[in-house]
């Protein structure tokens, strides 16, 4: 005998579609697109949107990994500072005459070390990730300032312009972002690691009881975010042609915002890569729209801050309703 009641089952999946926060993100994205295209016909041009996206591609890519960290029940506010420090280390090494490959490897290695430091403090020393990553955020950004001073370090001409490289008419950073989203989406949605990330984030104690090695999973996520952030830092160096210590300053806001807008639950256990993927596009439309409308960058900051608060209230609301 089976205990499934088909009609209820059906209704349920409909209801759950409306209860999914990605639906909210998607609706907002469409609304933003419509609104933006009324504002300026630029927005009907796909290439314009793609080009605009390259400006925040690095933060968006790191935000995808950050989403997984938040789902596992932790948070990392230091990723933007990591982007800056890795970029500075990379630029510094190559400017001092080392071959490009070595410079890139050094940059990536720096990211690995930064991710590991976060992981060690949070997992081995069991300090709360919120405060640890505020500390490392200041520390990494500070080190970047030590390395680069107040000057900018240039990268060689030939290395500049990752954002203008096209793959089938799509800017390279957008391709990377999409590919990362697909890969991470698959990892989170179809592999056992992904499943265990949700389980650890939902109930760490129950995960331990089920034999899931949650410390190992969380450690891996912090390290992955470290390495991916450093790759993003190197990408930013190529896009900008030179790096300063204040690269991606305040980027932690945008990254957390992307995750929250995409419906990631701040207390862990829920969220999807698709949500963050959509939210990244939403943010690009919103901020480009604001630029086109000639709004000051400062006003954009205000809007982002407000959006973060609204997004977290909205996702909390959706999840608390779904729970009932």
């Amino acid at each position: 005998m089976t205990n499934q009641i088909p009609s209820l089952y059906h209704k349920k999946s409909w209801r759950s579609l409306f209860n999914r926060p990605e639906t909210m993100t998607f609706t907002l994205l469409i609304l933003a697109l419509v609104g933006a295209s009324l504002l300026s016909e630029y927005f009907l041009d796909v290439n314009y949107i793609l080009r605009s996206f390259t400006l925040t591609a690095e933060l968006s890519i790191a935000a995808l990994v950050l989403t997984m960290v938040i789902i596992s029940g932790e948070i990392d506010l230091s990723a933007a500072a990591n982007i800056a420090l890795s970029a500075c280390i990379f630029a510094y090494v190559q400017a001092s005459g080392a071959p490009m490959t070595l410079a890139i490897l050094t940059g990536l290695f720096a990211g690995l070390v930064m991710g590991s430091l976060n992981a060690i403090l949070v997992i081995v020393y069991q300090l709360p990730s919120i405060i640890v990553t505020i500390g490392t955020l200041i520390f990494y950004r500070g080190l970047a300032q030590v390395i680069a001073g107040d000057k900018s370090i240039r990268v060689p001409e030939w290395f500049i312009g990752v954002n203008t490289k096209m793959v089938l008419g799509v800017p390279f950073p957008v391709v990377i972002f999409t590919a990362t989203a697909i890969i991470l989406g698959l990892v989170l949605g179809t592999t056992i690691y992904g499943r265990q990330i949700y389980q650890v984030g939902t109930n760490n104690t129950a995960a331990l009881h089920a034999g899931i090695k949650s410390n190992r999973i969380k450690f891996g996520l912090f390290v992955l975010l470290g390495v991916v952030s450093s790759a993003c830092g190197i990408m930013a160096a190529s896009r900008l042609g030179s790096v300063r210590y204040d690269l991606a300053l305040g980027g932690e806001l945008q990254m957390v915002l992307m995750a929250m807008l995409g419906g990631t639950y701040i207390f862990g256990g829920r969220g999807t890569i698709l949500g963050t993927f959509l939210a990244a596009w939403l943010l690009v439309i919103v901020s480009t729209g604001m630029t086109v409308a000639n709004l000051l960058p400062a006003i954009q900051l205000t809007v982002l801050g407000l959006l973060l608060i609204v997004a977290i209230i909205a996702t909390n609301f959706i999840y608390s309703r779904a729970r009932r």
Partner: protein, 328 residues
């Protein structure tokens, strides 16, 4: 005798010894570091951080964190600055009221989000950190309030002194520290802040109005950030929408965590926070003397926060080990 012994065995003594050691070491290397002039430099570096640290201490003790302090400082300073610019004939001390009041309102907004929606304070204040900064640009039209617009009496507060040659703003920051000491030590409110941080679940069972006390803590945080804002205008003679208060919260958190305030709530003293601020001031004053560029400051702040966290943890572990032993 007993309070002295208690002091010697506590965290405060550790910081005190570190201040002495640090200053002696720098003094041996650069003898003119130990002079009344460098004391003055140190003291002039700290008043803003001192005021911010007192507020952040209260917030951390209540098991929250306020990342928006720098933006509240900037916004409040800007409101006061705009008032001075557009109403030059106004009696200058009104600026204090305006800045403190503005900060209190911003703090209230943080507090309402945290208590009504039950949101984590770190995310709320990360949002308002940017929100308030953006609003500062909007109200100022992205323009700086210049030296000429700041009343000279206000600027003079950072120079002139009523007593012992100590400028007004330093005296004021010490007064705030004393007031905070009175608050946490001798009022029900202060003790209830500690109680909430010590055991948030027990607090309502014991008749503590957690929502009200938490709101008050965030309002104090905003109001003191506002006070630091008007003092910024006094100290530096301008208010800039992008620079004023930028990174302030990080310096403040560094000072507070060095001072032994626990990130897990319930623990922290005014004296510890005070000494933490002074230690940070000594380091900041010594760096240029030692030929270390100012660009290292942030890295140093970051690393001291991490080190302080680790020390805090080992202290906590020893404490629980002790309790366990006494239980057995």
């Amino acid at each position: 005798m007993k309070p002295i012994l208690k002091f010697l065995s506590g965290r405060e003594a550790g910081i005190f010894v570190m201040i002495i050691l640090f200053c002696t070491a720098v003094g041996i290397y650069k003898p003119h570091f130990i002079s009344s002039n460098s004391l003055r430099i140190i003291l002039l570096l700290v008043p803003l951080i001192m005021i911010g640290a007192m507020a952040q201490m209260l917030v951390l003790v209540a098991r929250h964190v306020d990342l928006s302090m720098g933006s509240m400082l900037g916004f409040s300073a800007m409101v006061a600055g705009l008032m001075y610019r557009d109403m030059p004939e106004i009696w200058w001390p009104i600026g204090f009221l305006v800045a403190v009041g503005t900060g209190a309102v911003l703090g209230l907004f943080n507090g309402l989000l945290v208590t009504i929606f039950n949101l984590p304070s770190i995310i709320v204040t990360l949002g308002t950190l940017n929100l308030y900064r953006g609003l500062t640009f909007i109200i100022s039209d992205a323009r700086q309030i210049n030296r000429a617009n700041i009343p000279s009496e206000l600027k003079a507060m950072s120079q002139t002194s009523p007593i012992f040659g100590i400028p007004w703003i330093i005296l004021m920051s010490f007064a705030i520290a004393l007031l905070t000491f009175y608050l946490v030590r001798y009022t029900q409110l202060g003790r209830q802040i500690y109680a909430i941080g010590s055991n948030p679940n027990a607090a309502p069972l014991r008749g503590i109005n957690v929502t009200k006390v938490t709101l008050i803590v965030f309002i104090i945080s905003g109001a003191l950030s506002g006070l630091a804002g008007i003092m910024y205008a006094s100290r530096w003679g301008f208010v800039n929408p992008s620079n004023t208060g930028m990174g302030f919260e990080f310096q403040v958190i560094a000072a507070v965590v060095i001072g032994g305030v626990s990130i897990n709530g319930g623990v922290g003293t005014v004296l510890g926070t005070f000494l933490g601020v002074i230690l940070l001031g000594c380091v900041a004053a010594a760096l240029p003397l030692l030929g270390i560029p100012g660009t290292t400051q942030s890295a140093i702040y970051g690393s001291v926060i991490l080190i302080a966290l680790l020390i805090d943890r080992s202290v906590r572990q020893r404490a629980t080990a002790n309790t366990k032993r006494s239980r057995a």
